[in-house]
């Protein structure tokens, strides 16, 4: 019997599969389709202090083996999330929840993390300092070690829950940012967020999406994600949630061998809403084929 459970900073997960923030809403749509309690955890829609419509539409573009979104942190705001979404979720979901938090100032990050700290079912805070969609927003924090450390230290001061900093891949040195977050007290690192990408509609001669550029995700970016998880595993001593184009059980194994303790599944949920159940079903069988008895044994194995 293969043991596919894992752990993030003391939080036990039945399996490493976590739908990524922004691809799973607050769970309701997917809970109509399957019992979401089969998941290891899930990271809910990136939440900000105020409600946000997000960027103008169109805000989706297709790519070869991927997509670009410029949703721009559309969310109902932290009041509605705490008062409406989390109670509804509590009724149907009995596994640990990861709260994904975004902000446009250090104070806003602090405010939201302090509020989330009081929510019992939230076991991990995932702090997004990398969303490339908002002009005045997240991008800046994730692109320098100092700003990343400042956000980390600020949110750590207001919560006793584990804090995972979610990093942008659009940087020269991902390890510099990760090391700065660790030094500032981060309990873990989530990576990668989307690559900044763009498509042009050649019939119109204009960018496909209204905001011109957006976050590029999907299987196309997987090799970049594996590389960065591998590099960060070498650079820090805190756990990593790996993500970026993961679509199959094989991808999950590859990401864990690179150094991830758990794995988020993003864009794949959108094109096949049953991606996560399929991976969870396949994972024990794949482990048997690969002679893996305990999944956590393979974390970082490729560093050999």
């Amino acid at each position: 019997m293969v043991d596919i459970s894992t752990e993030l900073s003391g939080v036990k997960l039945d399996n490493p599969i976590i739908p990524a923030s922004g691809t799973f809403g607050f769970g309701a749509e997917f809970n109509n389709l399957y019992d979401i309690n089969i998941l290891g955890s899930f990271s809910f829609k990136g939440t900000t202090k105020e409600p946000r419509f997000g960027n103008p539409t169109p805000r989706i573009a297709e790519c070869r083996d991927g997509m670009i979104n410029s949703v721009g942190l559309a969310n109902p705001g932290i009041d509605a999330v705490i008062n409406e979404e989390l109670p509804a979720l509590r009724d149907v979901f009995h596994k640990p929840i990861i709260a994904n938090i975004s902000g446009f100032s250090v104070d806003e990050y602090k405010y939201c993390c302090e509020r989330m700290n009081k929510e019992d079912q939230v076991e991990i805070l995932e702090v997004n300092i990398s969303c490339p969609n908002v002009h005045a927003g997240g991008m800046a924090f994730g692109t320098t070690p100092d700003a990343a450390a400042e956000v980390t230290a600020a949110v750590k001061s207001v919560t006793d829950k584990p804090v995972y900093m979610k990093l942008s891949p659009n940087v020269t040195s991902i390890t510099d940012i990760a090391v700065a977050c660790e030094a500032a007290g981060a309990d873990g690192i989530s990576l990668i967020n989307t690559l900044l990408g763009m498509r042009i509609d050649i019939k119109r001669g204009r960018p496909v999406i209204a905001n011109k550029m957006g976050g590029f995700s999907g299987p196309a970016i997987f090799p970049v994600a594996v590389r960065m998880v591998y590099q960060v595993y070498d650079a820090v001593n805190i756990p990593i949630i790996g993500m970026g184009g993961v679509s199959t059980a094989e991808d999950v194994i590859e990401m864990m061998m690179a150094g991830a303790s758990a794995v988020e599944v993003g864009a794949a949920n959108l094109v096949d809403p049953f991606t996560c159940p399929k991976i969870i079903e396949r994972l024990p069988k794949l482990c048997e084929e690969l002679k893996i008895n305990k999944l956590t044994d393979i974390i970082g194995r490729a560093h050999g």
Partner: protein, 260 residues
Amino acid sequence: MEEYIRKQIDQELTIISNEKIANDVYRMSLNGDTSLITAPGQFINIKVPGFYLRRPISISDYDDEGVTIIYKVVGNGTDALCRMRPGDTLMCLMGLGNGFDVNACGDHTLLVGGGVGTPPIYGLAKALLALGKRVTVVLGFGSQGDVFYEDEFKDLSKILSGKDLDVRVATVDGSYGTKGFVTDCLKGLDDVTDYCACGPIPMLKALYGYYDGKILGQLSFEERMGCGFGACVGCSLNTKSGFKKVCKDGPIFWSQDVIF
């Protein structure tokens, strides 16, 4: 895996026919499980082999055996779709969106289709006629070569109620029917109680302006979608009652909710 699954919306459908019916416009009939379709105006989200995102296409007609869709070739994905052949299969997310509320329709509903917004209007007309309701159909196209389904609408009338259905067609260049827009075809329709429309935003806006709040309409919107089932929030619409997802809260919105 069955024990976790609550609603298997991803169904394999088999292509029965796939034929050109107007300039760049194709009609495809597919066989498969249609039990998740609940109302005209809903759509299916099709995985075209070789493309990452699915293609949301509105349902033109359906019965227990399958669905008919009508789509326009606008890019590589729909181009690949039009090259598929009978016997090929497609994975489709079934029964997406809210659909038109047929029970909310009044005594004489104006049904308006613009271009490839026409197909869901066909299914809606069929449903309303089956309920014994009176409808008038107005279709708008660019030019004569773009026109489709005028005869199919007329045939509906014969089959379902035995008397002629009033079907009016406008073309922008006047090469067929009335020259102009759908709003140029509304003469003598003073007893219309409400309207249902699917087509480009300028058409919806013109209708909204024409009726100026005097009667209510159900308007079907289009937007570039990520998932089609409410997960990604890619296709948002800001309405008078808040931010809505076109794919899940829509694609049909009440006219008094829409901000033009």
